[in-house]
């Protein structure tokens, strides 16, 4: 494996991405929304408790309907604190997964389909890199920044959550073990999911926009998790998150195996 060539392609792709406002803006706006605005608003929720018609009145019944594990996790908190913990630790958890998914998808669409659109792929195919090196470099171009932002975002989220909720919580309550598993085990797998789907879609797409739009379908499983938690169908626990990560990793392997088969120099050259 020629790691120097792999690093050169990763560096090139990242430089190109950073010059593209169409790619860069969502990469800034969405993390700010998910990592700063939403936890800050969620932490502010207890201020609603004095307003008429707020759900705090039925909090007891709500807690009673939750799985025993979650009830145990919330034990010891006041009702107001429960609202904060539910929002910041549980309801926003699947939203956090949108980050690595979206970042990997956007960059992969630019790296795979965008390269074709900009007509820069041909020169790359004439280089001494092997198909495997090219494929790996392209995967890393999207996966590494997705992970970097996801993990950096996790730290930022932790800081914002603790700061914003301090008046209510009065102590550091974040991150939890479940969130550590989410960030370190599930987020990389979710990034791989976005990557796998986008690479497959990019093989047929003519450009960045088409690949990104077609690849957006990959957000559906994450939205199902959001809805599942909001409706009480399921709640994230450490074990569930571990299992979820395993499922994503298996799906990743299958997707990337197929994606690797489409990413052959001889095939790519026929579509130039």
């Amino acid at each position: 494996m020629n790691w120097r060539a792999v690093k050169a392609i990763v560096r090139k792709d990242l430089k190109v991405v950073l010059q593209n406002k169409g790619v860069l803006i969502p990469l800034i706006v969405v993390p700010v929304m998910i990592l700063v605005a939403m936890p800050a608003l969620a932490a502010f929720a207890p201020a609603l408790q004095d307003m008429p018609g707020t759900p705090f009145a039925g909090m007891d019944n709500f807690i009673q309907g939750m799985p025993p594990g979650l009830q145990a996790a919330l034990a010891g908190y006041s009702e107001v604190q429960m609202v904060v913990v539910l929002a910041l630790v549980y309801f926003l958890a699947p939203m956090y997964l949108i980050l690595p998914l979206m970042i990997a998808s956007v960059i992969a669409a630019d790296s795979f389909a965008g390269e074709k659109e900009r007509k820069t792929l041909e020169a790359l195919l004439y280089t001494p890199t092997t198909d495997r090196e090219l494929f790996l470099a392209k995967l890393l171009s999207a996966w590494v920044p997705a992970l970097g932002i996801a993990w950096g975002g996790f730290v930022l989220y932790s800081v914002v959550a603790n700061l914003a909720a301090w008046p209510t919580m009065g102590k550091l309550f974040f991150p939890t073990v479940m969130w550590l598993v989410l960030a370190l085990w599930v987020a990389p797998a979710v990034a791989g999911l976005g990557l796998g789907v986008t690479v497959l879609v990019s093989a047929k797409a003519q450009g960045f926009q088409e690949a990104y739009q077609l690849g957006a379908i990959v957000v559906l499983p994450i939205l199902l998790l959001v809805v599942g938690q909001a409706t009480g169908v399921m709640y994230f626990s450490t074990w569930l998150v571990l299992l979820l990560g395993l499922v994503f990793w298996v799906v990743d392997l299958v997707l990337l195996w197929f994606a690797g088969r489409t990413f052959r120099r001889h095939e790519l050259a026929t579509r130039l």
Binding site: K119, A123, Y126, P128
Partner: protein, 314 residues
């Protein structure tokens, strides 16, 4: 004795669906040669370059480039070849310098040599003062120069040039021609795909003419002309008052029924070189004042048009 060929192609074939892009191609290219590959758009030139670099897999036949199999030894081979693609294929969001730096690494130029070599190529290709500008802001000629610099950066033994002067102004095209001439002086092999016949005539020792993927002619322009039975053309410019007499003399002396006439220049195809002195004497004897007699070898254009048929070409 002629050196071993650096490119040997036997029966090379490539299809795209029902279309045969390269059809049983046979050719050899020798070291240090500027070899022209001529043909209309879609004749199979670009596909041939891709096949010879292992970027496409053939459906039939074999190719050896620098003794290597392009398909099986692709990465090793591509380290020793350079390709200027038909479109410059530059990363336009990167600077000229960044474009060269990244490709120097991809072509495994030793790390310690990269900065110096990049600077030297920017200088050579007259891009040094714009090296930190994004390539997207370059003129077409500058982009082509940068792409050529990128193709040469790793000092390839064979350089494949696909329409290197397409769309360039005469000055930029002249720069590219100079560069190709310089490379041939350095004993580098150049495989030049073009449909610019004047360019091929000027630069190439031998040419292959492709049509619908098939090789229809191979040789030096003179050899091709000979094979096609094309004769020397003679241009005779005379004083305007002597045109009628000159036409008469030409008809009588050379047995040409109807010589072409443009202003006061007669153009005669099929003249034997040995007939020229007698023809000039007859014209003088007829009182024709002769300004110019120019024997012309058949041009590559003559050959090309003859091969393809003038109607199809036009």
């Amino acid at each position: 004795m002629r050196a071993e060929p650096v490119i040997v192609v036997n029966g090379l074939t490539r299809r795209f669906g029902g279309v045969v892009a390269v059809d049983h191609l046979d050719l050899e290219v020798y070291p240090g040669e500027v070899f022209g590959c001529l043909g209309h758009n879609g004749a199979g030139k670009t596909t041939t370059v891709r096949l010879l670099n292992g970027v496409l897999a053939p459906d039939g036949g074999t190719a050896r480039v620098l003794g290597l199999d392009p398909l099986g030894d692709g990465p090793v081979l591509r380290r020793r070849t350079g390709v200027l693609t038909e479109t410059p294929s530059l990363d336009e969001r990167l600077t000229g310098r960044e474009n060269l730096q990244i490709y120097a690494e991809l072509y495994d130029v030793p790390p310690a040599e990269v900065p110096g070599r990049v600077e030297s190529f920017l200088e050579t290709f007259e891009l040094a003062d714009r090296g930190d500008d994004r390539a997207g802001g370059y003129s077409k000629g500058m982009k082509q120069r940068l792409a050529l610099a990128r193709a040469l950066l790793h000092q390839p033994e064979i350089l494949f040039l696909d329409e290197p002067t397409a769309g360039l102004d005469p000055v930029a095209a002249h720069h590219v021609h100079d560069m190709i001439t310089r490379l041939s002086h350095e004993q580098r092999t150049v495989f030049l795909c073009t449909h610019n016949l004047a360019e091929a005539q000027k630069l190439c020792a031998r040419v292959a003419v492709l049509e619908h993927g098939r090789l229809v002619a191979l040789g030096t322009p003179a050899e091709l002309a000979q094979k096609l039975g094309r004769s020397q053309r003679l241009e005779i410019e005379v004083a305007p008052d002597g045109v009628t007499a000159a036409v008469g003399v030409v008809k009588t002396s050379l047995g040409i029924a109807d010589p072409a006439l443009e202003n006061s220049t007669l153009s005669v195809v099929g003249a034997n070189r040995e007939a020229i002195p007698g023809l000039v004497a007859s014209l003088v004897a007829a009182g024709v004042r002769i300004y110019r007699v120019t024997p012309q070898e058949p041009s590559l254009e003559d050959v090309y048009f003859a091969l393809h048929g003038e109607e199809e070409v036009s």
